[in-house]
């Protein structure tokens, strides 16, 4: 039994049908990358898993138990944690308050010190309001909120988007470190190289369908494979 199974879900966004019978599977300790063009349905997949968008049909199971239809708060308490694309930092709360609210309902919350060991920059800024953080710091904080909950599976939506290369490098190192520790993650990313550097397995999405499934190594070795569902039309 996989840790997370997404079983033939159909999700609509407004009246637009985005995911068509989409199925993916994530094992414990695995990092899975969802790749695909804009509008392929990657973000919608993560939002469906988190319960932000309820699938019209199909089922999502965690440890074999269905979670589709539950509220996001209930799904979060089961150990699934979305790090949203827009980061959604609470701007009027300080860094530490952002962490504190994230830890509220987590049974095995990390200590602040353990978080600050991963992101030393956040310790320096712990009294600053969220809205004063730079983009990179916001992204660190957003990931830190998932970590402090000791989430069983972290859903990273475009974690490197709009960040300077140096910061991306730092964040990739953090993500790679988490992957080595065996933390389960699903990552959606435009920056394919960055995603492939720590993902073990890849799903390629196009128009709400899975069009490719394979290991990262396979894709890295044969870039033309990816072009079909990623690239500028060849």
């Amino acid at each position: 039994m996989s840790l997370l199974e997404v079983d033939r879900i159909n999700t609509l966004y407004g009246d637009s049908h985005v995911l068509f019978d989409l199925s993916i599977r994530v094992e414990e300790g695995e990092v899975v990358a969802l790749l695909g063009r804009n509008g392929a349905g990657k973000t919608t997949t993560l939002r469906s898993i988190m319960g932000v968008l309820a699938p019209r049909s199909g089922e999502i199971r965690l440890d074999g138990k269905p979670i589709s239809g539950l509220a996001p708060s209930a799904i979060a308490r089961l150990g699934v944690q979305l790090v949203p694309e827009e980061r959604a930092i609470f701007g009027g709360l300080t860094v530490e308050e952002n962490l504190r609210i994230a830890a509220l309902t987590a049974p095995n919350a990390w200590s602040f010190e353990r978080i600050y060991a991963v992101f030393p920059r956040l310790k320096e800024r712990r009294k600053s309001l969220g809205r004063t953080l730079s983009g990179g710091e916001q992204q660190m904080l957003s990931i830190a909120r998932a970590l402090i909950r000791d989430a069983r599976i972290i859903l990273l939506d475009e974690p490197f988007e709009g960040l300077a290369p140096l910061i991306v490098r730092d964040l990739v190192n953090v993500a790679a470190g988490l992957a080595r520790e065996g933390r389960t993650m699903i990552v959606v990313e435009q920056n394919v190289a960055a995603a492939l550097s720590f993902a073990t397995r890849v799903y390629g999405l196009n128009n709400g369908h899975v069009v490719f499934e394979g290991s990262s190594a396979e894709l890295t070795a044969n870039p033309e494979l990816a072009r079909d569902f990623l690239g500028v039309g060849v």
Partner: protein, 291 residues
Amino acid sequence: MPSWPALASQAFNGLALGSLLALVSSGLTIILGTLGVLNFAHGALFAVGAYAAFVMLQYTQSFLLAIAVGCGFMLVLGFLLERLIIRFFYGRPHEDQILVTYGIGIVLVECVRAVFGGNAQRVPTPSWGQGATQLGFLIYPTYRLQLIAIIATLLVGLYLVLYRTSMGLVVRAGIENPGMVGILGINLRRTFLLVFAIGVVAVGLAGMLYAPVVAVTPDMGANFMAQSFVVIVLGGLGSFPGAVVGGLIAGEIVSLTSAFNSSYSEVMLYALMALLLVLRPQGLFGSEGRV
């Protein structure tokens, strides 16, 4: 030009009225900010609070005890309203929320009228608040000074709840981005219930504390509600500091204007609001937010 003592006395009146408005408005504004519901029953709840003090005082003979029991009653009332009606309206349009809370307001006021009749009731000033106090160059009623102190304490308490407790953390985060609060595993519905009840207790308490100063009638809350709307437009929708500062400004405007020409005191308040709408529509402390 009024004399300095008269002006100072009006400034104190403004502080008393302003702190009261601050308390009423902060209840209104945290409900609005967190739940997204503009509570049109707020004025009726103010009157219910005043009547609660009136009834409890007859039973207990102690003002403080009456207020304590009255708060418990308002808390229960708040819980009931949220569970039975308000919670079904979180997903409905603002217009529906306004209409249903307005309906609740009618029912509450009419219940009060049915039980106590339409005539004004008097709530005596508590024994410890009798008389007047010498403040250097002016003599001021003791209870009003105490009122200012009590409400200031309550507002500090509310501040501590909002800024020093986990629940306050959730409320402040929920005002910004309720969706993300849910994603972080927190069920906001329970917070909504608490916030609504706290808002109801705040306005009820304002009614209780104000009861000895005015004639208690079923309709006494309507004007307070209209003024507290002005206050939260001034302060910015959903902003607690805005409600406090806006309340004090509103109170001073009403009182100081009446030192010069009493017939314009209320009019000035609304004129100020009109001016602010043109110059700074988001209010003093507001960002556009979710409303």
